[in-house]
Symmetry: C2
Subunit: 458 residues, 2 copies
Amino acid sequence: MSFHRDALLSRRSHLARLLGDRPALVVSGLPRARNYAANAYRFRAASHFLYLVGWNTPGAALLYDGQSFQLFAPLPGPEEALWEGPSPSPAELSERWGLEVRDLSSLAQHLPRGDVATLPGLESDTCAMQSTWLGRVVARGALAACDEPLADALISLRLVQDEAMVFSIREALKVSTRCHLAGMAATSAGVPASRIRAAMEAPMLAANVEPAYGSIVTCHGEVLHDTRYDHLLSAEDLLLADVGAESPEGVASDITRTWPVSGTFSPEAAALYDAVLAAQAQAIATVAPGRRYRDVHLAAMQSLAEGLVAVGLLQGDPAERVADDSVALFFPHGIGHLLGLDVHDMEDLGDRAGYAPGRTRDARPSLRYLRLDRDLVPGMLLTIEPGLYFVPALLDDAETRRKYADRVRWPEVDRFAQVRGIRIEDDVLVTAAGCEVLSAAIPKDRAAIEKAVGATMP
Amino acid sequence: MSFHRDALLSRRSHLARLLGDRPALVVSGLPRARNYAANAYRFRAASHFLYLVGWNTPGAALLYDGQSFQLFAPLPGPEEALWEGPSPSPAELSERWGLEVRDLSSLAQHLPRGDVATLPGLESDTCAMQSTWLGRVVARGALAACDEPLADALISLRLVQDEAMVFSIREALKVSTRCHLAGMAATSAGVPASRIRAAMEAPMLAANVEPAYGSIVTCHGEVLHDTRYDHLLSAEDLLLADVGAESPEGVASDITRTWPVSGTFSPEAAALYDAVLAAQAQAIATVAPGRRYRDVHLAAMQSLAEGLVAVGLLQGDPAERVADDSVALFFPHGIGHLLGLDVHDMEDLGDRAGYAPGRTRDARPSLRYLRLDRDLVPGMLLTIEPGLYFVPALLDDAETRRKYADRVRWPEVDRFAQVRGIRIEDDVLVTAAGCEVLSAAIPKDRAAIEKAVGATMP
């Protein structure tokens, strides 16, 4: 606890140094109603707030007045004690979080005059509260000019993870490892994917943590964001599971594995799996300080192109197949993204965090979904997640087939299409020497996968 | 499916009859961001929308133009196919839901002129959309005069459950039964409550349904809404589990059981458990058409008062101990609430649904938290959930102890306080003959509970 508290103190003091005398207000946000106000989704504070305060509490605001920090939170009254139990006093809270804690009602009298920077809440109800406090319109998803230095300061801090963050993601990955092993062991033909999801999320519930994002557990890996769980698994299917636990502090892990329902890869699935795995190895080998993340992406594309030529899905020079977007027909997303307190870290700020100043998205199919294009520095947390998919919407199109007739072997595509989708995703930390794969304990090569699928439930 | 579709058709035609030529727009609501827009909580449409449309889809609006219904929904374009997979055509959707489905973009041209009733969304972003469509301010939690007939029509429909709803809650209860049996079997001393929660929610995940509300699984039953799961269970504790599954259609079940971690009730726990169980039996025996729900509540209070006098916590005439709010010190909430598509059905409309016209909350401690005060009619779904708690905030107060000195035996209270909290909650359907307990399959008497706790995991 004091380890994390020290990290929070250090983050706030770094932020103060970056902001100088410019005041700022960072809010935790409000609970989101599910079907009525009192039946809310489990509250999770905004990541910028968690990063600086660590306390997952609703309706609170961290004020930096240009000199020091104070936390304003709605402190429960006697009525709440019946429903919510006893709550710590402001003094106890101040001690716990290493920062002066006051009741929210006194925020107004502590707010400095003039512009106070803020980051808009994720929903309009929080923005409305911010607008009232700050006396100006705070709109969802839109930074005012005076907010930009705060956004940029937080980006520069959160791009490089401190020891406490790395500790937290390691803890999250311990749980994610149990999830994936349990999912592999629980897999069998004839059951719906929901059974595998249940086996995979149970270790999170048992550890009292949440999924960092909506789990994908599907035999239709070609639907990139498939969040249905009702498909029946058949012995011929691959199961794709993109499942990651959050740490107690809210730090995300993000892991994808793909395994055969039967426990044995078919020859087609094996060939494609190894191509994806090789592309991932190539990408990971490329990660190093000073390297541009787009080049990591392109290295994976190049490796995958070589694999697809070898397998016979593509023909010609692999580098040309990357350049002419043939590979993107099968690998239509980016190689990964920043990871941290958000699974796509700081995506609330759009590409401001993911793209270095002056860089913007490239509209080419090979690059348009790339979420990160920065030069890597030690301490960055990234995912590396190549995939290979047979998406009917991309491949079953007469014009595409005509356009790529001399580059894609369409009869082979149709023969392999039953494989549907493969993705292999790990979480890596950029180090001075290159990178460390933090999720190396989760089975990945074909033999290890087949063994884990054959295991009985732990 | 056609069973449910027929029910939806019948609900809409009833609503049309009640509304006559007054147009109305019922919305499904927008996804709620968790930590950034694309990382949303699992979407769950507003209950009024689910009641009429059945389709759990975001951003949609059901329009009644004064004559007939049409559904406007954002229909996915080609870009979405990559991420979300193929989607049914409007014609297929129209067939599936038994109602004309159009793209949301054409809503504006179909909206009638003049007042169109609506029910405000649960968050301001949905309300903003409604305001734009309807050309007037639609504010969260506030009905305009023209909205009231729509609210009252939906209340009158949803108060009495049709066959499809009863079917759905029976399905939900099958899952909840598995959850509670698994929780009992998984209980042991020395583990955190999160382990028991995991065992209880796994059957929901496996069945591809959601918890109808945030599960309460705690050895601190005296904290009425305890949603921490980190308490370590000890052999002396009772575990209180308030856990209910939703049906695939979104219908809630709501079940509480309390069991000894050791597998055996202590003499103190047994005496109090039996008093709560007797109060529940008395309340259930009172449920019948024409009966006022407040009288069901008071019957439970009377029974509990008798039990507490017998055990020695209270002294004097039980009826007087109800009247002077002594019982409410130990049973500080209502005997239950409406159940349906919401676990507190239609609580989005405040007490408008729960309280009959002309009735309002009584400020007395014995009645202030009663959520329902209507005369019962066949087809109403209710919970019956007496409890008995030792809440320090209520009982460890010098003034309270002085005030109730001759009515409460305080030394006995202190002796029993280790029991902390007991609640027993079942779901009942009001029938012509009285009522049916729909959740009767879940162990409840002490012997059955002890047997289930002693069982090994299913």
